[in-house]
């Protein structure tokens, strides 16, 4: 809530400030209706902080879950209402004194993020798989693992539910990130989405050392990359004299000022964006963080952060750097090829399911970049569809990971999954569907999304990249099929893990994942049309 208001206050042009400084300060004009999804989510997050402080312990969990779900659903309804009204069409799309753009891609991405966050919150709220007052999260994250203090807190029934407000703050940042129309808003949104995620990574109840290590690695590398992002913004500001995306684009077309500033600015901003998107060579944090973080948080990060990061990447690249296509395309070719190869080849050697899914997410970041390379509306449409389809499949896959358990918690070593299909054919079948979708087998959403981005990239003249992309898909498919064979055609170990029966929450999340993956594979056209209608940035 505060972010949007304060940011827009900052974007008042300097001239009007000095002219009006004598008697009164003009209030910035905020379009509350069009920005309502942001306000709903941030408002719910602030309320969540108050609930954490004041609600009685027994009621806290239920209140927090209810509030979070309500906030996400409310924001989604707001997105649908805004999208079906005419308030955002044409020149009126640029709102909040030019700080935020609410156009087709923004609304599509915001809707996607809210849907995915809703499914991820169902996983976060699961308490039957890991019985206790806080489910899969540490009852009191500040206690030292294994210490008397922790035991005492557990005995006293301490239950902190800060997971939910933190998730909402992160979702709010994600909604703002692809909508940012100037680079300062983009930076603030990047931090608003990142800071809660750093904390969420460190909140696991089991294997807390791994979880805390993941949080530290993610934090240090994330802060490092956002410093690069910020320096890039400084250089672009130095080049164009403005941080507004359209004015940077104008300055770049007129080729005024020094190319050194412009190109190094573009490079540094790209570093920050590619880091968040998890693309090589800035992918090194992904496997560690995905493995160490609580699985529900991993699902949330893997799906929603990717959507937000690629949304912002698309807007900044298409709107601000659109005129520099010939400069950045060779760079992106290299990044896309490297990302796909690193993700696909290294996933072959993984022995841990969460790490394997992390490398698969790197490969998928590469596939999405192939769509970005097209640099036209068809590429944009493909990317929007891809992010939605991949998000549901990846949340579903992590939902399965939370259910396969042994007495020590989740059994994530791949060898433990041998024969899973014989013990619980349904759950293993669902996982197989997600893997087939990742591999891009027809009749799953993965095939349609790969087809959409690859064909757009072919038309856009990036055929060598598409050839590599297809090869990388084949390599990755080999690995996914190996996991399926392992699950269905090998004998289960006697002391192997079992599939725990979850509550309705995880069941619904899993069912949604399977349904969307299959429906988008069989009848993708309505969603493709929706993405196609949305696919034009307002400049």
């Amino acid at each position: 809530m505060t972010v949007a208001a304060v940011v827009s206050a900052a974007s008042v042009p300097a001239a009007s400030v000095s002219a009006a400084a004598a008697d009164s300060i003009p209030a910035p004009h905020i379009e509350y209706g069009v920005l309502s999804p942001l306000f709903v989510v941030f408002g719910a997050a602030v309320l969540g902080v108050l609930v954490e402080a004041f609600a009685p312990r027994a009621a806290r969990w239920a209140v927090q879950v209810g509030l979070t779900v309500l906030g996400l659903v409310g924001a989604f309804v707001a997105v649908v209402l805004v999208a079906s009204s005419d308030d955002w069409k044409g020149a009126r799309a640029v709102v909040a004194e030019g700080a935020v753009t609410v156009d087709g891609p923004t609304l599509f991405l915001q809707g996607t993020i809210l849907l995915l966050a809703f499914v991820a919150v169902l996983l976060l709220a699961e308490r039957r798989l890991d019985p206790g007052p806080s489910g899969a999260f540490a009852a009191q994250a500040s206690t030292v693992p294994g210490s008397p203090g922790e035991r005492e807190a557990t005995r006293a029934g301490a239950a902190q539910t800060e997971v939910f407000p933190l998730t909402l703050f992160a979702v709010g940042g994600m909604l703002l990130f692809p909508a940012a129309n100037d680079l300062l808003v983009a930076f603030v949104a990047l931090e608003v989405l990142s800071l809660p995620l750093y904390l969420l990574c460190g909140l696991a109840r089991r294997r807390r050392l791994l979880s805390q290590e993941a949080a530290m690695k993610y934090f240090l590398l994330g802060a490092f990359s956002s410093a690069f992002f910020l320096y890039g913004i400084a250089l672009l500001y130095g080049y164009a004299g403005s941080i507004r995306l359209s004015e940077i684009a104008d300055a770049a077309t007129q080729a005024q000022g020094s190319d050194v500033l412009l190109l190094s600015g573009v490079g540094l901003v790209t570093v920050g964006l590619l880091f968040k998107a998890g693309a090589a060579p800035f992918h090194a944090w992904t496997p560690d963080v995905y493995q160490g973080a609580p699985t529900a948080v991993t699902a949330f990060m893997a799906a929603c952060t990717k959507v937000a990061a690629f949304g912002a990447l698309l807007r900044i690249y298409y709107v601000a750097f659109g005129g520099l296509k010939w400069e950045w395309r060779p760079l992106m070719w290299g990044v896309a090829i490297l990302t796909m190869l690193v993700g696909a080849v290294i996933s072959l050697t993984q022995q841990d399911v969460k790490r394997m899914l992390a490398y698969s997410s790197i490969a998928h970041a590469g596939f999405v970049l192939v769509g970005v390379l097209a640099a036209d509306d068809a590429g944009l449409r493909g990317v929007l569809f891809y992010l939605l389809a991949y998000g549901f499949a990846t949340i579903g896959a992590f939902a399965v990971v939370t259910m396969v358990r042994d007495p020590a918690g989740e059994a994530t070593h791949l060898s433990q999954w041998a024969g899973l299909g014989r013990r619980s054919p349904l759950v293993a079948g669902a996982f197989a569907i997600f893997l087939l979708s990742f591999a891009g087998i027809p009749l799953t959403s993965g095939f349609m999304s790969k087809y959409a981005v690859f064909s757009a990239a072919l038309d856009g003249g990036a055929s060598p990249v598409v050839v590599v992309a297809v090869l990388a898909s084949v390599v990755a498919a080999f690995f996914y099929v190996r996991v399926i064979v392992l699950m269905f055609f090998s004998e289960p170990a006697a002391d192997g893990p079992t599939v725990a029966v979850p509550s309705i929450l995880t069941t619904v999340a899993l069912a949604l994942g399977v349904t969307v993956t299959l429906v988008l594979g069989v009848i993708p056209q309505p969603v493709l049309d929706l993405a196609g209608d949305a696919a034009a940035f307002v400049r």
Partner: protein, 99 residues
């Protein structure tokens, strides 16, 4: 003195910060180097604001300070938690997650 000298200084500070992140082993020092990078950026913003004669850069510098303060809160919380568990803040000791 030319105003661009401040830009050179900012680039040097940023580079020192980046080198520190890569070379130092103590998580607190690594984090301080990140803060140095952010402050170098602030210097660049303010200098560019002077060059262009508008206020945007100066206002951005305030935003960066607030964001950096928020980052300190979150970062120190994480580092202190790790320290209380491991009795060490060396980034080399955090090596359970690999390959």
């Amino acid at each position: 003195m030319g105003v661009q000298n401040y830009l050179y200084l900012s680039a040097i500070l940023f580079t020192i910060g980046a080198a520190g992140v890569l070379l130092r082993r103590n998580a607190i020092v690594v984090f301080m180097c990140v803060e140095l990078m952010l402050n170098a950026t602030n210097l660049a913003f303010v200098t560019f604001a002077r060059i262009h004669g508008n206020l945007d850069g100066q206002i951005i510098a305030f935003f960066v300070m607030v964001v950096a303060a928020a980052e300190v809160v979150v970062g120190l919380a994480i580092i202190v938690t790790i320290f209380r568990t491991r009795r060490s803040t060396s980034v080399d000791d955090a090596n359970l997650l690999k390959y």
